[in-house]
Amino acid sequence: MSDKLISLLSGIIFGIGLVISGMTNPEKVLSFLSISHSWSAEYKWDYSLIFVMGGAIITAAPFFYFLKNKEVSSLGLKISLPAKQDIDKKLVIGASLFGVGWGLVGFCPGPAISAIAVFDPIVIVFLVSMAVGVLVKQNIIK
């Protein structure tokens, strides 16, 4: 199979996982981030997101461990793992700003793209803004 077909298939599986997990619904994500609600008696905190991330991490981690010394993938492509990232200002500020944006809407990149499937024009406004954010970063910080 070609790289493009594999990428399409991976995206499809990923997207189905996102829908089943409920994470394509911004309300679901905001219910997780709404931790202050867990202190009130009326609401129950919806921490499903932890199960989504936990399920994905536990599934992927053993494979990453056993494949970590491989240099070539099964398609014969060079395995390119990111170099050890410094815990620097960029990481801290970037992650902080991402979290703020995530909290404002309840979208991170994957679910925002998958949400195109619900045909709500506001999703496109989000994605265009996200693309602008990426391009701004690319042009002002090397």
Binding site: S48, F51, G54, Q85, G99
Partner: protein, 143 residues
């Protein structure tokens, strides 16, 4: 506010994990969506493969709602404030690329590889996300 749904969350999470493993095993690349998005919208080496991944992210839900489980209704509730949407989009795009990853790149791939920087990044964006939601609620802004 939504209900706690641990089983569907776990099943969905395992499927996402399988996608990450499949993608890594075959292409040797990590399925971090913010990075894939950046490569798809700019002139990069794997631009078209990355565009196909994004296409799959949309086709997957369409297949699910129309073919796999046509009786399941789409749960989707989003703010109607364009201010929040535009500001949120800008910050997610800028922040994920400055910080080197998002929920999938740092949260799933990075933690799955036991990367210290990814664990720290994930703790930070979950914390600032929770803080943001709490502050919005103080101003009476709920979804």
């Amino acid at each position: 506010m939504t209900d706690f749904t641990p089983y569907s969350a776990l099943v969905g999470g395992i499927i996402i994990g399988l996608s990450v493993v499949f993608y890594f095993f075959t292409t040797g690349r990590l399925a971090g969506i913010s990075g894939i998005f950046e490569n798809a919208i700019t002139n990069s080496v794997n631009r078209f493969s990355n565009l196909f991944f994004l296409l799959g992210l949309v086709v997957g839900p369409l297949l699910y709602y129309n073919v796999i489980a046509p009786k399941v209704s789409i749960a989707f509730n989003i703010t109607d404030s364009y201010t929040l949407i535009i500001l949120g989009g800008l910050l997610v795009g800028f922040g994920t690329r400055l910080g080197g990853g998002c929920t999938s790149g740092h949260g799933i791939c990075g933690i799955g590889r036991l990367s210290t920087s990814s664990i720290i990044a994930t703790v930070i964006f979950v914390a600032t996300g929770m803080l943001t939601v709490t502050i919005l609620q103080q101003f009476g802004i709920y979804l």
